[in-house]
Point group: C3
Chain length 108, copies 3
Amino acid sequence: MPQMIVRGISVPQIQSISTALIEELAQVCSCGTDNFMLECLPTVSIFEGKQVNTYPFIEVGWFERGQETRDEYASVLTKHVLSLGIPEVEIAFRVYREDSYYWNGKLI
Amino acid sequence: MPQMIVRGISVPQIQSISTALIEELAQVCSCGTDNFMLECLPTVSIFEGKQVNTYPFIEVGWFERGQETRDEYASVLTKHVLSLGIPEVEIAFRVYREDSYYWNGKLI
Amino acid sequence: MPQMIVRGISVPQIQSISTALIEELAQVCSCGTDNFMLECLPTVSIFEGKQVNTYPFIEVGWFERGQETRDEYASVLTKHVLSLGIPEVEIAFRVYREDSYYWNGKLI
């Protein structure tokens, strides 16, 4: 963790920003870069009977870190996505409970 | 938002109900049709060692709107899915926190 | 329910453990084996500009069953995943609200 599940942004686009993005996020979170998961999720979006481009959306799954860190995280993530020429992105944070997250069967 | 992530129902099936479905849901939510995201997510379901059809399941991600609107939303969504000849569908709602949802880096 | 959404473990690997896994989980949950959904979700993971193997991760979606059952569930699930020769797996539980989960339009 943190996990980022990306929809509506292509794999090559994410590849092109991944190194600088994760380095900057690691500073925001004061943790190593190897804690981050960055995954593109393929979905098929539908509107008015047609397949359409998926709206750029990133869901961040992590433990609660407070509003200030969350704002900063969203700001960094948004900056890198918009640098791709993408005009809009939405980011939602989802909090995992510490009593419900296991590494190799043990609470972490 | 609202976002609907659909599993176990095919893209053409969702295409065929999408226009009427979203128009009706927009009335339930008192918002424009262009707020809705409707996305099919491909998964491979497994049971007893075999690949099987994925159980029809829709996860709705949105801000809290209360029990009455939720019931009505589920009712409309279910009605359109069952109209495809699908016998069963489960729908779960997931609430995003307003302090954790960003549009272009700003809380919305 | 429970639903298990699997990332970073292949479909044949999950097939090979599915029968024994679900039988054991059904005992943990005191319910029938046909309540379980086990789905592999394909994602593309990215690190340092390259596509990399996805870290083995399973998200369990269910109703709250308490710490003891959760620990036991995680333990059984981990044991079967590690039996595949996979060295690490993370498991997160996500709780559905009973006022927000519908079967065919009705709260269950």
